[in-house]
């Protein structure tokens, strides 16, 4: 408890934080299932915020509403103070199923966002090569997705999102289709990547450990209807060896605490 700042209730965080994404009163209903009700959230600039909750809490729906891929029934999303309702250049999405074009090489897949924006071939490929190297795929530029493992495919997805130079990266359970060893490696890389550049990450996951491991803030959502039940800021030092975090006492305490809170929703 000491090391973990906890806020109860669905009230938004005070405005003193520089928020890049502001979500106000978002609600969404599918048929007669209320997926989200009155979501108010602020996402601080340059931080990694996780949306965590059991299945059915609407975390992916909320992420896709922020991305502009799903229309909300009510409420607003603002990025840098501007209301948005469609995808925009200031956001980039990393998909759970990777969404790579099987007929295109790694290079073209990574450069695809820039290709759609009309960037010249030479320029976009140069940028793409840089990000391919950054996610650890140098040498795989001319491979096709089916020649890569799940973890490598998701690195391609991440490089594609990075290469359009968006302020906000939206990651929808990016590791759920990646095997455990690759996931650990990928999480470590993500921590490193995040400290290197001043990007805002919004990360959807159903794994408590994953959320605590990588997040500056964790937004706990409760299901049916999806509401913000708690916001947690694990104060874990991530500057050193990422391996150490798994043994950090604050890490273990926070994981346990979140589990105690979520238990009631698991049948």
């Amino acid at each position: 408890m000491r090391a973990t700042a906890l806020r109860n209730g669905p009230s938004p965080v005070p405005a003193r934080i520089d928020s890049i994404v502001e979500v106000r009163g978002i609600s969404k209903t599918y048929g007669n299932v209320e997926a989200l009700r009155g979501i108010d959230l602020d996402f601080p600039r340059g931080k990694l915020t996780s949306l965590l909750g059991p299945s059915g809490c609407g975390k992916t729906t909320l992420l896709k509403i922020i991305a502009g891929l799903i229309k909300a029934d009510g409420g607003t999303v603002a990025i840098n103070g501007k209301r948005v309702s469609a995808p925009g250049p200031e956001r980039a999405f990393v998909f759970q199923d990777f969404a790579l074009m099987p007929w295109a090489t790694v290079l073209r897949n990574v450069a695809f966002g820039l290709e759609l924006r009309g960037t010249s071939r030479a320029e976009r490929e140069e940028i793409a090569r840089r990000y391919i190297a950054e996610v650890g795929l140098a040498g795989f530029e001319d491979k096709y997705p089916h020649e890569l493992s799940g973890g490598m495919r998701q690195r391609v997805g991440l490089a594609r999102a990075l290469s359009v130079d968006a302020d906000v990266l939206l990651l929808d359970e990016p590791f759920s289709a990646v095997d455990e060893q690759n996931r650990r490696k990928f999480q470590e890389d993500l921590i490193r990547l995040r400290t290197n550049r001043n990007k805002t990450f919004i990360f959807v996951t159903h794994s408590i450990e994953e959320a605590v491991y990588i997040s500056d803030r964790i937004v706990l959502l409760s299901p049916r209807p999806g509401r913000v039940s708690r916001i947690i800021e694990p104060e874990i030092d991530r500057s050193g060896d990422p391996e150490r975090i798994h043994r950090d006492r604050h890490y273990l305490d926070t994981v346990d605490e979140i589990w105690q809170g979520l238990k009631q929703y698991v049948e």
Partner: protein
């Protein structure tokens, strides 16, 4: 563990193909296997011709001799000149029209309701029955032959394209939208490449149907081209020449389909080139 798996694979005939760059016996080369298949077919034909199965069934060797004679005296060339014009015209028109209409129907509900039932009926109908009707309206010229090709080739191209476009990978569409793809970019860069395997399957069927159309038209409507050559040699009981003509059009049709497959792998789905 690994060696034993490999042995199992070899025992079951699952050894990697030699085209993968690993060592393999020369008789396992795909080219060799194909040639063996063709040679076996020719041998069976030769034997069947020598028995003979029917007095109207020439041997393979006689047919080949007749083929080169037809080639030498120019009758094959002039027949193809007359057959290929409506065939190429009809197939090219069907390909563009078919892929275009199929894409529109796949993307646009109203178009789907307007057009798809027509093509389903056309595909189900015994289209050859229309050919006398085409003659009745368009006479016996090039128009009628081209139309016969289109009537046979178009429905399958439209329907395949339509199905492929309708079943396009949704997650790629969402990806394209999230990276700000315009509707045109979505069609050109996601929908058509994703649909191309099924579209090309339709094109191959359509081209094969186009060959059927042009030969039918020449047998039923206008005594010209390949159809005429077949009819002419049949009427003179020159069975070797007749078979040579038939075999030549089958060979041409096959080569065209193989070429289409090559274009597809080359241009649209490069990731399948090695597979």
């Amino acid at each position: 563990m690994a060696p034993s798996i490999r042995t199992d694979g070899e025992a079951a005939g699952l050894a990697p193909a030699s085209s993968r760059g690993t060592t393999g016996a020369w008789w396992e080369e795909p080219v060799v296997l194909r040639l063996v298949s063709i040679a076996a077919f020719a041998a069976i034909w030769e034997v069947a011709g020598r028995i003979p199965v029917s007095f109207a069934f020439p041997t393979f060797s006689d047919t080949m001799v007749a083929f080169f004679e037809l080639l030498a005296d120019g009758s094959l060339a002039s027949a193809y000149l007359s057959t290929l014009q409506p065939l190429v015209l009809g197939v090219v028109l069907s390909a563009f029209l078919g892929v275009g209409l199929g894409t529109i129907c796949g993307l646009w509900r109203t178009g789907e309701w307007l057009l798809i039932p027509v093509f389903i009926v056309l595909q189900a109908a015994p289209v050859a029955a229309f050919i006398p009707m085409v003659t009745f309206v368009y006479g016996i010229g090039m128009t009628a032959k081209t139309l016969a090709v289109i009537i046979l080739a178009l429905p399958v191209i439209v329907l395949n394209t339509y199905k492929a476009v309708r079943n396009v990978n949704q997650s790629l569409l969402v990806m394209c939208r999230s990276f700000l793809g315009t509707p045109w970019q979505t069609v050109a860069k996601i929908i058509l490449p994703d649909a191309s395997p099924v579209i090309f399957a339709g094109l191959r069927l359509g081209v094969a149907a186009g060959f059927v159309g042009v030969v039918l038209a020449e047998l039923l409507i206008t005594p010209t081209g390949i159809g005429d050559l077949i009819t002419f040699h049949r009427s003179r009981a020159d069975y070797a020449e007749m078979y040579a003509t038939i075999a030549s059009i089958i060979a041409l049709s096959t080569l065209t389909l193989v070429f289409l497959q090559w274009v597809e792998a080359r241009v649209f789905r490069p990731e399948k080139r090695g597979a």
